[in-house]
């Protein structure tokens, strides 16, 4: 009994439990879920698909975790920022107003970097509004939530820009000769960089202390405004990277559809990872596991024939369930129930 309690109290228990539950449902429904085969020199299989498609959500979840931790609010503009940076990159690579192209007008690396920096710029805008002007995070990010897609449409001259240039497809698909999808590598790189920064410097601790009590943190000499700003910039950069992957997958920038509903997935990943949406302590590994859980849920739903338009219903219900369980009122209700039962047992004895 004590061992079970020890396991259930572990930080990663909740996210891992959810992931295993989703995988179990899948295995029962379709025994071939774990099958991985090699076709045309690349790996195929549901599991690979989840890992591959989950890359964007995982990268977004990394940024979102920091934002939630530091400001107790969420960045709802990430999906739109993804689409904006994708549009910016394709505009730079193809030239303004070009509909479809097989050659690019500037080095690809430069274009991709510019797109990621565009994400960072959007993050800086959000960060400035939140940290300097003290506007609630969600209202501040609501501005880009609507405007970023519209700006993306302007950059693309209201059309979908296709880049049929072979190397552009590498980032979101496969590098020739490598059987593992590239997005998985990109995700690993992003996670490793962020983890190293958080673990090797005091940044992670600082972010937590600002999230728990920003005034106390400031009195201790931490520049809490700047840290908050920095977290939003990192979140924006993550959205930029995710946008590059999403755009490269379909070698075009479809402003209306890239990153659609991803903000929901990112927030859900953070909540599923066992992080409180009220800020403070955070658990990066949990968020990343949460992200792949979300992707597994999405893949399962799509495999069951639910359309992409309908999938948000299920996710919305899951979000509500998680926040209800996390809410202080629910927790105290559970506490009183437990205490009452204990009292009853004592009386019986």
């Amino acid at each position: 009994m004590k061992n079970i309690q020890k396991i259930t109290r572990m930080k990663l228990f909740f996210p891992l439990f959810c992931l295993l539950l989703v995988l179990l449902i899948n295995v029962v429904k379709d025994p071939g879920f774990f099958q991985i085969s090699v076709k045309n020199g690349v790996l195929y299989g549901r599991l690979i698909d989840v890992l591959n498609r989950g890359s964007e959500v995982a990268i977004l979840a990394v940024g979102q975790t920091l934002v939630v931790a530091v400001s107790a609010g969420t960045d709802i503009s990430v999906g739109s920022v993804m689409s904006l940076s994708a549009c910016f990159t394709t505009m730079l690579l193809a030239g303004y107003g070009v509909n479809t192209t097989t050659t690019i007008v500037m080095p690809m690396a430069l274009g991709l970097l510019a797109g990621i920096l565009m994400g960072g710029l959007c993050g800086a805008f959000n960060g400035a509004l939140v940290s300097k002007l003290r506007i609630q995070p969600m209202v501040a990010t609501l501005i880009l939530f609507t405007a970023a897609r519209a700006i993306g449409l302007l950059l693309c001259n209201n059309q979908i820009t296709y880049i049929r240039y072979e190397p552009y497809k590498y980032l979101g698909n496969f590098i020739p000769g490598c059987p593992i999808p590239t997005p998985i590598f990109v995700t690993i790189v992003v996670i490793v960089i962020i983890m190293l920064v958080l673990k090797k410097s005091a940044l992670g601790t600082f972010i937590q202390s600002v999230g728990i009590n920003s005034r106390a943190a400031r009195l201790l000499g931490i520049n809490s405004d700047f840290l908050c700003f920095l977290c939003y910039v990192i979140c924006g950069l993550c959205a930029g990277v995710a946008g590059m992957i999403a755009s490269s997958r379909i070698y075009c920038a479809d402003s209306n559809n890239i990153g659609l509903n991803y903000e929901m997935d990112a927030i859900l990943a953070v909540a599923l990872g066992g992080n409180s949406l009220a800020g403070g302590r955070f658990n990066m590994a949990g968020s990343i596991i949460g992200a792949y859980t979300i992707q597994a849920i999405t893949t399962t739903l799509l495999a069951m024939g639910v359309s992409t338009d309908q999938a948000p219903v299920v996710k919305a219900i899951i979000v509500i369930l998680i926040v209800v369980v996390q809410s202080p009122v629910f927790k105290s209700w559970v506490e009183t129930k437990k205490n009452r039962r204990r009292a009853e047992i004592k009386e019986a004895v």
Binding site: A316, V324, S327, V329
Partner: protein, 343 residues
């Protein structure tokens, strides 16, 4: 007494800026697009007609924002309402009045759930209504994924509602180049929207519930200590918002006569922008529906200006609204800082 005057003066400045901005934008529009008939009285009425739904939604949004909360589920709720109306009347051939009633009841239930989660469980309004936003949009797709329209054959009554004209005195009209007098008109939707504005204005000013909304937004702790039922008031605020949003959805549907999954995207942004531009503080406690009405008019004028140009992409309207929202948020934060400094 003196302090109160200072507070009101600050808020009046915001509202004054809004009204001046509207008049300025309209006059500029009249000068630039004079040859496209921008100056006609009918253009102004058209802004009211197209934005009748938004007026209702903005009123509800203002009530929620007064408590310091926010409701971003409105756009999806409108899409869901329109889809229910379209499928029920266009496909199933149900009569008009029960369907409208059904939509209003759905709005109330939607608001009850959101309000309970916010008021009684103390979850952040943004998270709750964001889940509501995705739920609503998703349910729209569950009901039907096609674009469904309502035609005259399918529901003559709804069609007649949508096309009813209320003509205004002829001297407000103008004579077109064929020598025919164009009499200005409005649709019944505008009247409903204006009735909603007046009712909410009255409610906020003279009822206990309305004053509690301000009190809670001003300082929740104080309101609770004075014996106000904070949780129930919050719950009712969200119910009111979703209910008004459903009325707005019916008005919106009367305008478009169709339901589709992509409908009313970004509507929450327009509603929030209208309220904020109209002088409602995001932190709660300060606001006025009449200001929100002016906010909606500004919003409508931006769209009309962009459309009048003809060459500009329609996404410019979105960007302009977002920029304006940003501007007013910054203005609010400066005012708040000034107020703090005065203390």
């Amino acid at each position: 007494m003196k302090k109160k005057k200072v507070g009101l003066a600050g808020n009046n400045v915001l509202l004054l800026i809004t009204v001046l901005l509207f008049i300025g934008m309209y006059v500029i529009g009249c000068i630039i697009y004079a040859n496209k008939g921008f100056g006609h009285f009918q253009t102004f009425l058209n802004i009211l007609i197209t934005n009748a739904g938004l007026i209702c939604v903005a009123c509800g949004m203002t009530c929620v924002m007064l408590t310091g909360g926010i409701d971003i589920s409105v756009g999806s709720l409108i899409a869901m309402d329109c889809m229910i109306l379209a499928v029920a009347m266009g496909r199933q051939g149900l009569p008009c009045i029960p369907t409208v009633m059904l939509v209003l009841v759905i709005g109330i239930v939607f608001g009850l759930v959101q309000g309970y989660l916010v008021g009684y469980l103390g979850i952040q309004p943004f998270i709750v209504t964001m889940a509501g936003m995705f739920f609503g949009r998703g349910m729209t797709a569950v009901i039907c994924t096609d674009q469904v329209s309502i035609t005259q054959q399918e529901n003559a009554m709804f069609y007649s509602w949508a096309n009813a004209k209320i003509t205004l005195p002829a001297f407000l009209g103008y004579t077109n180049n064929k020598g025919k007098t164009m009499v200005p008109f409005i649709r019944p939707t505008v009247l409903i929207a204006l009735v909603v504005v007046v009712a909410i204005w009255f409610m906020l000013k003279y009822t206990k519930f309305g004053r509690s909304l301000y009190a809670i937004g001003g300082n929740e702790q104080t309101a609770r200590m004075l014996g106000l039922n904070v949780r129930r008031t919050k719950l009712l605020a969200y119910v009111l918002s979703s209910f008004l949003c459903s009325i707005g959805g019916v008005l919106y549907c009367l305008n478009t006569m169709a339901g589709s999954v992509q409908q009313a995207k970004g509507f929450e942004m327009d509603a929030i922008a209208s309220s904020v531009i109209g002088g409602t503080l995001l932190t709660g406690g300060v606001g006025n529906v009449l200001g929100s009405l002016v906010g909606v008019l500004i919003n409508g004028t931006i769209t009309t200006l962009v459309n009048s140009n003809g060459k500009l992409l329609s996404s410019w309207a979105n960007i302009a609204t977002a920029a304006l929202l940003c501007f007013f948020i910054i203005l609010q934060s400066i005012f708040a800082k000034l107020k703090d400094g005065r203390k």
